[in-house]
């Protein structure tokens, strides 16, 4: 039996109702599962929202949690995928004193080496943007720290699963099944 903890992305499609996020998060809370990151946005279907939640847990526990999420009335469908079944991305922003760039060429070199880009340059500060896995955004963070990093933020990850069935098709299935008496 597989009892190793592993990272999973849970994707949840819901009606856009007040309180649904609370309903979902309590399901994690009561099983003592820490949410590593969470992102919410409108999905490809108008009025239907998509949550992307990343957890590190045993497969079986995640499967049960996903079923309990799907059981919520306003949830259409919930999926979970291990890392090798998704393409994922995170975004990080770094605020540096603009001075750091004029003092030395090092900072610019670092930015280039990491394939990051400058998002905004102001007399006082410069914002750097980097997309990538956590290890990558963290590596840039570690290097910039020495040059007076002022502020740092990393987004939750968003991901798209590799299997080809579209949510639209699931949606049709759920809507059809919801008519069953």
């Amino acid at each position: 039996m597989k009892t190793m903890k592993e990272q999973f992305t849970i994707s949840i499609y819901t009606e856009n109702t007040i309180g649904i996020l609370h309903r979902i998060t309590t399901i994690f809370t009561r099983r003592h599962i820490n949410i590593e990151s969470i992102t919410a946005s409108e999905s490809e279907v108008p009025d239907i929202h998509r949550y992307t939640i990343v957890v590190c847990q045993e497969d079986e526990k995640v499967r049960k949690v996903v079923k309990q999420i799907e059981k919520q009335i306003d949830v259409f469908k919930a999926f979970y995928h291990p890392n090798d079944e998704v393409v994922r991305q995170e975004l990080a922003l770094y605020k540096m004193p603009t001075q750091a760039f004029s003092n030395t060429r090092e900072v610019e070199k670092i930015v280039r080496k990491h394939h990051a880009r400058l998002l905004a340059v102001e007399p006082e500060f410069t914002i750097i943007e980097k997309t990538g896995y956590k290890t990558e955004t963290q590596a840039l963070f570690d290097e910039l720290k020495a040059y007076g990093l002022l502020e740092f933020v990393r987004s939750g990850w968003i991901s798209i699963s590799k299997p080809m069935k579209e949510f639209q098709d699931y949606l049709k299935e759920v809507e059809e099944a919801s008519k069953n008496k």
């Binding site: 309590t26 079923k67 009335i73 008496k181």
Partner: protein
Amino acid sequence: MKTVAVEKQDEKQAEQFCSGAHALVKALIHEGVDTIFGYPGGAIMPVYDALYDFEGKIKHHMSRHEQGATHAAQGYARQSGKPGVCLATSGPGATNLITGLADAQLDSTPLVCITGQVPSQMIGTDAFQETDVVSISMAVTKWNVQVTKAEDIPAAIAKAFYIAKSGKPGPVLVDITKDAQFGKCPDTYERCDQVRSYIAKPKIDPLAIEQAAQAIAEAKKPLVLFGHGVLLANAKDEFREFIEKSGMPAAWTILGLSALATDHPQNVGMLGMHGNYAPNKLTNECDLLIAVGMRFDDRVTGDVTRYAKQAKVIHIEIDPAEIDKNVKADIPILGDCREALQRLIPHLQRKDYQDWYATFSALDAEEQEQVIQRDLFPDESAPLSMGEVIRHLSDISKGSAVLVTDVGQHQMVAQRYYRFGEWNSNITSGGLGTMGFALPAAIGAKLAAPHRQVVAVIGDGGFQMTLQELGMIMEAGIAVKILILNNQFLGMVRQWQDMFFEKRYSSVDMSNPDFLMIAKAYGIEGQQVSERADLEKAMHTFLSHPKSYLLEVMVGKEDNIFPMIPSGAAVDEIRLK
């Protein structure tokens, strides 16, 4: 200036509008509600005012505490099969509903609770009697919603009823701000029969039916476990046919009890912690386990890692989240269990399980000798036992009463020894184990089934949790029978202290009031019995009394309930002493 015609039209339109509170009451009437339970207060006053206009149509029973209203509504729902309805005010009124909601959530009972809320512009300001009941109740409701506009009330109520009663039933809560109750809304109502994100009844997979039929055909030692789902799906005839056509033995969970008559020859008894010896032991010996509308609660399975490992498991269940949650199903049948049974029945062939039944009988004989005989027919020198009280209750009521049990030793005894003859006649708090459930739930059950004998069986501890609801009985003259089995202890907890805490009795000894005087204060007659010689006659009086009646029986103080699966033990480690 308006012409006469325009004024007429305005008037007509005005007629088609009503207040949010009126819309709510009318919605209830549209849903076929004629009995509700509740308690008034500031934030729900417009609804109570509207009720005044519909007095002949909806009967409101005022509980003496909102928890009592929820349990009464549960008893009503469990007996009638219709959603129970509760009203409460904001703040403390709303928070008092939580225990009942949790109980209904765990026992899949359809409830529609309506709470008043402070006016919408005051929400979030810590206004007087404001609590965020939507957040508080989220974990204990199937669905909930807050309504802040009058025109949204009818649709919210329609959705609430649909969700409460469809699929796996459960409690829902609709929180309505006071301004929405006062506001104007169109006087129309449309019932809800679909929520697009919610699959109430999964379509049954024909392949699963075939596989199940084959597994049943191949089994030599099958065991059917039946739960609440059979009752909820109204599968009375289907279940009996399923059992009788196949010849398989069937055992019950406490929520499935009375879905098959206790004396049915294929009924092999009760599962779980204080269940019967044979079905528990043989759960770990059968070759096929067929779970029908039950969810493998830990009180049924004991140590789940040592539960029925040798058996193939068929699980008939409407809730996908229950499949593989506690016990892995080899053949899951996802769907309504009535429909599933209907489809399985044509495949069945009666088989002879004589040897298999013989193993049940052998174990039954052991339990009979070591436990049952003594419980039902104690020595003359022994104090009265709970078992013999229930035996008399069962005999004299001919197994035809609705039993509503509280939580503790008396609950286990009542369910073990009452010979249920009629469908859907056992109402108990199973999943949550809520002391104080029985009295108000019995009131609700009696209102739902006025022509049936309804008996609440309660411990001396649990009675004191909700005894204020005697007020409801007094007010409406509800002929509920109240049987208190008084062991002067919080018996079940004392038993655990006896068995697992070296008899260190900590806070279980009860100082009890005079229960008969309390009943009398509410105009309810009663008597106390402490001698064996008086019991039978008292039971006749109790059952034949035309009104509510309280019978208090003084039973052995330190009797323990057996058999027992100690917590953490496997089902086949069940102990007879």
